[in-house]
Amino acid sequence: MLRRALFAAALAVVAGTANAQELTVYTALEADQIKAYQASFQKAYPSIKIKWVRDSTGIVTAKLLAEKAAPKADVVFGLAATSLMSLDKEGLLQAYVPVGLDKIKASMRDPANPPKWVGMDIWASAICFNTVEAEKKKIPAPASWADLAKPAYKGQIAMPNPASSGTGYLMVAGWLQMLGEEAGWKYMDALHENIASYTHSGSKPCRQAAAGEYAVGLSFEYRANRTKKDGAPIEAILPKEGLGWDMEASAIMAATKQLDAAKKLLDWSVTEEANKLYAQNFAVVAYPGVQAKLEHVKGDVEAQLAKNDFAWSATHRERILAEWTKRYDGKSEKK
């Protein structure tokens, strides 16, 4: 009966608070990345237990905003910097100077002092191109974003929905900044004609390209590298105009009751060791000198990053998404 349910609930709550050193960490990192990070952190701080809450960038951001009145997270670890900036605007974050902050690149942290968030790595857009299907359907390999708007790719492209996917948003924000607003929307209008599917996550387009569902998947470099490593017949292509990008960053929630443990996690996140782990997944990380080239991604990610104004991208996020949704989301498939 009700009492039983309440009792069970009470038990769950008690069990949850029994261990004082438990951190609730919200993250948009990929599920397959977290394990290595967790193991390394655990080795450094064995007494701190991390409870991960993982989802797409848009969802983690939405959750944090929804729980504004009663925040559940202690730390946000590995979320798009643009999202952290919107959270900061709501007053949800607290400033902290991690031990060793001075060692990381100045561009990879909140410019404010003390910073509200510190960067981990940069994740940038990439194209997953299925070579087997391309050969079957005589589709040429794209070299640029402009190529994708050509008729040859009609119905062959999957792209993440920017409203839910951070990867999708950084692409859109990238195009709008590279081309200017007007030309940017015009480009997306043309691209839209070729898009077969807008997906919920940034990984799915690459996975779909890998399965031959579509020939082209707009995704990001980590997923492209990883998917090719898994044996899928794809090429990872970095379009020549430049890559949209965002920074994965971490911050402490203002409402945390586990401040000490939270600080430890941020301290760890700027260490060389942590950055070496990031470097196994991403080409550009916060710690200078720690640079690993991704095995299956041709080209220099860092040199190709487009000019990106985070503040602009964060401030206009809501407006851009509304416009995007109005233009492309409601337009149904032809029957």
């Binding site: 039983r4 409870k51 009663a70 996550s201 989301d329």
Partner: protein, 576 residues
């Protein structure tokens, strides 16, 4: 006992006849029952009514929680991208309903009105879709008819992503629901009408249209509305295979989860409530009419072997059953392939859930736990509620309110209920907000979500019991709970097991209500299917869906074995 004179009795009888009931002194039992009924009513208020109220309130709130009237609705209706979903939803639901009702009618006709071979096997196969989340048929369709699908040529170049895929998936998923209704409607027929038709030398065709179809008309209406509501409120199928074809149910998910817009989610939620409430009202009306359709003098109709009809029915039902098996089989096959479609070597790689989104194998164990708790807690609550509402003497208003609340969840789509739960239970001012993010809230929500059907099952079972059992025990001064435990419960054991089974399987497969409520320690298998599909891990999603299917099937088999042995002992009295 004081002696009662016959005069007094006569007076009481006369008074009762005039419509005024005899006022009896309330016994301690009566009082206790009323208090319990009130408590259960409050529980339903807290788990169904108040969350809905919170949803309603949210829909008229601004960003800072201020009252803005209908501003959110105006904003919604001025966005053509969003309102297009209304037409899409209605269109999809209508097509799916027509197809599903026709197929289920044909299938039910085969099962009840013909002597075709293999009826028990067909019956088993037809129930398969109930044992998997609605995401499973959609995933399977991707493998069957997607761009790399093994049967994509069947679609003649049309895309499975969109209306076609949604309709096929929904028909698969709603088929057993419609079939149960149609089988019931066709199972009861008056043989005398058929004799009369035969005597009048009416052709089979004519008899079919003038006797069979009108006889099943309430079943047809009921099935139509049930399927329509299920389709328009389901979000699993369109989520996976809808492509860019937006419908209301996926809009809620996108608004809430993708765009952080809870107010717009509440608006769409209220829109979804409309068809569900309408369908509920029609169903209630129809059920009242149907009970009178068969008179006591009716002679049950027994089908006679007819070679042509039996063969035809066998082929038709065989095709439908084959389609069901192909959909399940395809998902199973895809879940075992190493790298679809380039490397089809069988492997268990896709069952290695711990390296993927969705919470790994833990979510499967969580699901079992949640389903188990839902079955135990839910069955206890439901049966007690049904008992009290049936057996409490007097207290008409209280019983009426309870009955209404018990049926309310039938009119509330899961996704709407789940959204209401966020607003209600995540408000810091709610003293019960501590259950937010725990297993308890998932159990609470799932019990509420599936309360009505379980309640109706319990009530039906209780109605079959002679009222005199209570009267006799009361006169022997046996407390009602003893009668309940020693007589009512054992006698109703089949219904109790039925309810537990129903709650367990539904808790295992549901996605809609719990999708907004799970937390990292309480990820569920059905949600994992959704999240893995979202992340592009479609084959692992198929693998998890199959794991759920196998678990549900196993439980179902255990249930059949259990009922055979237990019921063999406790239900011997039913046989003559």
């Amino acid at each position: 006992m004081t002696s009662v004179t016959s005069n007094q009795l006569d007076a009481a009888a006369a008074e009762a006849a005039r419509g005024r009931p005899v006022r009896q002194r309330m016994s301690r039992d009566d009082l206790l029952m009323r208090i319990m009924l009130v408590l259960l009513t409050l529980w339903l208020v807290g788990t169904v009514l108040l969350p809905l109220g919170a949803l309603l309130r949210k829909s008229v709130e601004g960003p800072a929680g201020e009252f803005v009237g209908l501003a959110n609705f105006v904003q919604y209706f001025s966005n053509p991208a969003l309102t297009a979903s209304i037409a899409n939803s209605i269109w999809i639901a209508s097509i799916s309903t027509v197809i599903c009702v026709l197929l289920s009618f044909a299938f039910a006709y085969g099962l009840t009105r013909t002597c075709m071979p293999g009826r028990s096997v067909f019956k088993l196969v037809s129930q398969i879709p109930l044992l998997a989340p609605s995401l499973l048929p959609a995933i399977s369709l991707v493998y069957l008819f997607g761009n790399q699908g093994i049967a994509k040529d069947v679609l003649l170049g049309a895309s499975i992503y969109g209306p076609i895929g949604i309709v096929i998936g929904e028909v698969f998923w709603t088929f057993p629901h419609a079939l149960i209704i149609m089988t019931t409607a066709l199972a009861t027929a008056d043989a005398r009408l058929y004799e009369a038709a035969a005597a009048l030398k009416a052709s089979n065709w004519r008899t079919f249209w003038t006797v069979t179809v009108p006889g099943a008309r309430y079943g047809l209406i009921s099935a139509t509305f049930v399927v329509f509501t299920l389709v328009i409120t389901d979000f699993g199928v369109p989520k996976v295979i809808g492509g860019q074809y937006n419908v209301l149910a996926t809009d809620i998910y996108k608004q809430v989860i993708g765009q952080q817009n809870f107010r717009m989610g509440a608006v769409v939620g209220l829109l979804l409530l409309l068809p569900a409430v309408l369908s509920f009202a029609v169903d209630q009306y129809v059920q009242r009419r149907q009970s009178a359709a068969l008179s006591a003098r009716a002679v049950p109709y027994e089908p006679k072997p007819d070679r042509a009809i039996d063969t035809f029915a066998f082929i038709a039902c065989g095709l439908i059953a084959a389609a069901v098996l192909i959909v399940i089989g395809m998902a199973f096959f895809a879940s075992l392939a190493t790298l679809w479609p380039y490397n089809l070597t069988p492997s268990l790689k896709n069952y290695d859930f711990d390296n993927m989104d969705g919470g790994g194998w833990q979510s499967f164990y969580n699901s079992l736990k949640m389903a188990g708790m839902t079955a135990v807690v839910g069955t206890a609550l439901v049966f007690m509620g049904a008992y009290l509402v049936e057996k409490t003497k007097g207290f008409h208003t209280g019983r009426f309110i309870f009955q209404l609340l018990a049926l309310l969840p039938l009119a509330v789509p899961g996704i709407v209920l789940g959204l209401g739960y966020i607003f209600f239970f995540n408000a810091p001012s709610n003293p019960a907000s501590f259950i937010y993010g725990t297993m308890a809230i998932l159990v609470l929500c799932t019990v509420a979500h599936f309360y009505s059907v379980a309640h109706l099952t319990a009530v039906t079972a209780l109605k079959q019991l002679d009222q005199e059992i209570e009267t006799v025990s009361a006169s022997l001064r046996v407390p009602f709970f003893r009668t309940f435990l020693l007589v009512t419960l054992p006698v109703c054991l089949p219904a109790v097991l039925d309810i537990a089974m129903y709650l367990f399987v539904n808790a295992l497969t549901t996605v809609s209500a719990v999708v907004f409520l799970y937390a990292p320690e309480t990820t569920l298998a059905s949600i994992a299917v959704l999240n893995m599909d979202d992340a592009g891990d479609v084959a692992p999603a198929a693998a998890m869906a199959m794991t759920i299917f196998f678990a549900a099937t196993l439980v179902r088999v255990l249930y059949i074995l259990l009922t055979r042995s237990v019921l063999g002992r406790t239900q011997a009295w039913r046989r003559r």
